[in-house]
């Protein structure tokens, strides 16, 4: 029961007092005013009136003639309160509130009818989502509709999330780390040995003592030994870590692709192919390189710096302190530049996918490009995309190119300071010349590493940007989600029950209030103008999309409660544009059932009237067909796709304009192939040519997202309604249609 308490906080005190016997039934928060400016408002429905906020609260008593009309356009929904004399009020809201508005409308109708009939209204249904007021699906606490809208931006620590992929390789990573530690330590030995070399050998020699050859030999052997040792260790760790990172990269790529395959058509509809290609190809590779090269180097550098610092401090704390002075300055610089670089790299990534998008756009469409002689323009488009790329890169390089030399300069200054301070210390007999040389040897390594470390900033940012784009895909929840507790799919006989289904794509309502009950084995012909929602309805039945309102049940089970794959294997789909994958004809036919025997494949091809032309191919069923099946004609490809659908023996068959892309003779061939396919299955066929559907048990006529007529050809013709008009238009058109090249007498030729 809705009560005052359920109202949003802001409105609780605002609502005018209700009569003692008056109850609050429903409410709707609106966010636009009549001039379409953003302004919050409230409409409330009580037992016998409608209240609306405004400068003053407006109240309308519920009467039988009152009605609430709902429509939407371009992201704005409108509710209009009308009676027989005209419009009484109008309320506007943005579409996020549409489900709530529709629910309000339903409540309104129920309440009005109850006032009219004097009977209490039928009790309200299931628990509703507190945000959008949609009824919650059973055993789920979160509203799927709103959860999808919860937009949590990815954290900045995206790279850490790669741990998920690194975890299986923990042991190798640990081994790699220990090796790194050892290798780094080994590389720090040589400068240490320069100290005795200087103090015990060279300087005494200058002062007239002979060279101790044995000691020299030992020290030089030590230098060589540590170098060889460091070499061996570095080799081992580089090999192990490269191996691991390559595997992590591969896992990342396959996981992303697997996830991508599970996403709904809605996702693919909104993405550019080039962009997705770039993400899975380039970005994973970039992350890979980052892990195998840069991260490794970075870890080594950190170790090196820490170890060097320890050694330096143990030799002489004062000199060490002076040596380390440039460090905080460099750290500060890195921090400053980091932000600039990160955004820059993100930008470069986006521009880069712009470049790939041009490629992905034009290569499949190359026939059109050439036919309209637009090669130059496409080349220009590519050049523009590249120029944009250059611009962004140039801007970034300006910062970047300043950064590296500055680090270099600081390094030089640092060394200068060490020299000066070192000479002063030597002059005051605080340290020996050997210590100073050792310091200088360490410090040049130290700053070298620091310089290299500063480069890590850019690659880390690049990798983080890449990781973010990968996780963008991985985090995207399919809008056709797998149910948490899937219901077992009962044996499918082919009955489909469509109940009050609505569907919206973006801000356009495509289907509204569609009710249709399809019996097992029935053939339904879907008819209507293009854009009337036929294909959308079929897409919903296939569960390529989920309904926005209402439900679709198969064998009494809501489609959303069974596993997608369990359901889809009962569906055979023949599309207008058959898609053949690169491979043999046999593989293409067996696409939906890879373990099909050769006999089954041939049988399916025979039934699809494809057998004979397949035999005419150079290698029969083993002939290769290309990406778009270039070597086959449209009708031939279509028959292969029919064979593909036949082979899986689906209980539900969907023909989406299966014959409209071919000539009449081929259509006849395909028709007889289809007749084999239809037998004993629930069939839903969309066809532009109405004659194709005359065998349908029932024709469903759709117009602008609604079902307007249902019946058989003869009945619908007798009715002289929508179907009759469509049919008339088509037969008339065929006679009246001018042949190509002929102009209608009244038509002026455009200049």
């Amino acid at each position: 029961m809705t009560t005052i308490d359920t109202l949003p906080q802001a409105w609780q005190g605002e609502l005018p007092p209700l009569a003692p016997d008056e109850q609050l039934i429903a409410w709707l928060e609106i966010d636009l005013d009549d001039q379409l400016a953003f302004r919050p408002g409230l409409i409330a429905l009580t037992s016998y009136r409608v209240l609306a906020s405004g400068d003053n609260w407006v109240s309308r008593s519920l009467t039988t003639t009152l009605s609430l009309a709902h429509h939407d356009h371009a992201g704005v929904g409108t509710l209009e309160l009308e009676d027989s004399s005209g419009r009484l009020a109008r309320w506007r809201y943005t579409l996020g509130r549409n489900p709530a508005a529709l629910r309000f409308e339903r409540e309104f109708t129920r309440q009005r009818d109850s006032v009219a009939s004097g009977l209490p209204p039928s009790p309200a249904v299931a628990a509703a989502c507190p945000i959008c007021q949609m009824p919650l699906p059973p055993d789920e606490e979160e509203c799927p509709n709103c959860a999808r809208e919860l937009h949590t931006p990815p954290s900045t620590w995206t790279l850490l999330r790669l741990w998920r992929f690194a975890e299986p390789y923990k042991m190798q990573l640990l081994a790699g780390f220990l090796l790194t530690l050892a290798a780094t330590a080994a590389t720090l030995v040589p400068p240490y040995l320069t100290m005795p070399l200087m103090d015990d050998i060279l300087i005494p020699f200058q002062n007239g003592k002979p060279i101790d050859t044995v000691k020299v030999a030992w020290l030089l052997a030590g230098l060589l030994g540590s170098a060889v040792f460091a070499w061996g260790l570095s080799w081992a760790r580089t090999y192990i870590l490269a191996l691991v990172s390559e595997r992590i990269g591969a896992d990342l790529r396959t996981t992303t692709y697997e996830h991508l395959m599970k996403l709904s058509l809605e996702y693919f509809g909104g993405k550019r192919t080039g962009d997705l290609l770039a993400r899975i190809g380039t970005e994973t590779d970039r992350i890979n390189v980052f892990l195998s090269l840069h991260l490794l180097d970075f870890a080594t550098d950190i170790l090196m710096i820490v170890m060097t610092a320890i050694i330096l401090f143990s030799i002489n704390p004062w000199l060490a302190l002076v040596t380390l002075i440039p460090l905080p300055i460099i750290a500060w610089m890195i921090h400053i530049v980091r932000d600039k670089l990160r955004t820059g790299f993100e930008q470069i990534d986006r521009v880069w996918s712009e470049v790939t998008s041009v490629l992905a756009d034009t290569i499949p469409g190359i026939r059109v490009v050439k036919a309209f002689a637009q090669e130059a323009r496409e080349a220009q488009r590519f050049r523009d995309a590249n120029r944009h790329n250059l611009e962004v890169n140039d801007r970034l390089n300006r910062v970047w190119s300043l950064f590296a030399p500055t680090v270099g300069l600081l390094t030089e200054i640092g060394i200068l300071v060490v020299w000066a301070f070192g000479i002063w210390l030597v002059g005051h007999d605080q340290i020996t010349v050997g210590v100073l040389t050792a310091f200088l040897a360490y410090i040049s390594r130290f700053y070298n590493r620091l310089d290299a470390m500063s480069r890590i900033v850019s690659v880390t940012q690049k990798a983080a940007a890449g990781a973010k784009r990968i996780f963008d895909i991985l985090d995207h929840v399919s809008s056709v989600p797998e149910p948490a507790n899937p219901v077992e799919m009962p044996p499918v006989r082919g009955g489909i029950d469509i109940q009050n289904v609505g569907f919206r794509y973006g801000n356009r309502a495509i289907l509204r209030g569609v009710d249709l009950n399809i019996a097992p084995g029935e053939m339904i012909g879907l008819v209507g103008h293009s854009g009337s929602g036929k294909s959308t309805l079929v897409n919903l039945i296939c569960r390529f999309y989920d309904v926005t309102e209402g439900q679709i049940k198969v064998e009494g089970v809501d489609l959303r409660s069974v596993r997608v794959a369990d359901y889809r294997k009962h569906i055979g789909l023949v599309l207008q544009e058959p898609f053949l994958f690169f491979g043999t004809i046999a593989e293409n036919i067996a696409y939906g059932k890879p373990d099909a025997t050769r006999t089954e494949i041939v049988a399916a091809a025979r039934a699809a009237h494809a057998h004979e032309f397949i035999l005419r191919q150079p290698f029969g069923y083993d002939s290769l067909v290309g990406e778009r099946g270039q070597s086959l004609s449209g009708g031939e490809r279509q028959r292969i796709s029919i064979a593909r659908a036949l082979l899986i023996d689906p209980k539900i068959l969907i023909l989406d304009e299966a014959t409209s892309a071919v000539d009449t003779e081929t259509e006849f061939e395909i028709q007889s192939a289809l007749n084999n396919l239809i037998r004993g299955r629930t069939t839903i066929a969309i066809a532009h040519r109405l004659s194709t559907l005359r065998r349908a048990d029932r024709l469903v006529v759709m117009d602008r997202g609604r079902i307007v007529e249902i019946g058989q050809h003869e009945d619908l013709m007798a009715k002289e309604g929508h179907y009759w008009r469509l049919y008339q238009a088509q037969t008339k058109q065929l006679d009246a249609l001018p042949a190509l090249g002929e102009t209608l007498p009244a038509m002026e030729v455009a200049a």
Binding site: R87, T152, N507
Partner: protein, 161 residues
């Protein structure tokens, strides 16, 4: 191919249900007429079609300026009721620079927030610096010229372009 209905005298009025009624040259009245801009962004005032409730074109208007005052006012009024493209004047803040990101904006229709699902939803228009931002609900926000925004907004915006 079909010819556009020839410009002919017609009268427009609004009935008590708030719907436009068009009476054509042949005297038939059409209830619930909707005006549509053919080039909503590139040439909003050129080419306006009046469609019937069934979506059939009844009248083609080359340019609004050539219409009698009364009809023009009705059409402009109706268009204003249908068109909802708030123009962003200022970006106050964004929840993150990674999408999806929630933007708090000031528009010519008041302050609101929008959710940008992906950078791809920002479309560059032909005009210099003009952008169209589609939010998660399909509402389009217009940025007339991004160079005219204040520095703070520009800085935020740049991160998404």
């Amino acid at each position: 191919m079909s010819r556009p209905p020839v410009s002919s005298p017609f009268t427009l009025s609004r009935n008590s249900f708030g719907r436009l009624v068009l009476v054509g040259a042949d005297g038939t009245a059409h209830d619930g007429v909707t005006p549509i801009r053919a080039f909503a962004i590139s040439a909003p005032d050129d080419g306006i079609a009046l469609l019937s409730a069934e979506g059939k074109e009844l009248q083609w208007i080359e340019n609004l300026a050539n219409l009698p005052e009364a009809s023009r006012a009705l059409i402009i009024d109706e268009l204003a009721q249908r068109e909802f493209m708030p123009a962003i004047h200022r970006i106050i803040s964004v929840s993150s620079y990674a999408t999806p990101s929630t933007w708090e904006v000031e528009t010519d229709r008041g302050a609101t927030s929008l959710i940008l699902k992906s950078e791809d939803d920002i479309r560059r228009l032909r005009g210099p610096g003009a952008l169209l931002v589609a939010d998660s609900q399909g509402i389009h926000f217009l940025i007339r010229d991004r160079k005219m925004l204040d520095a703070h907004s520009q800085k935020i915006l740049k991160r998404f372009l």
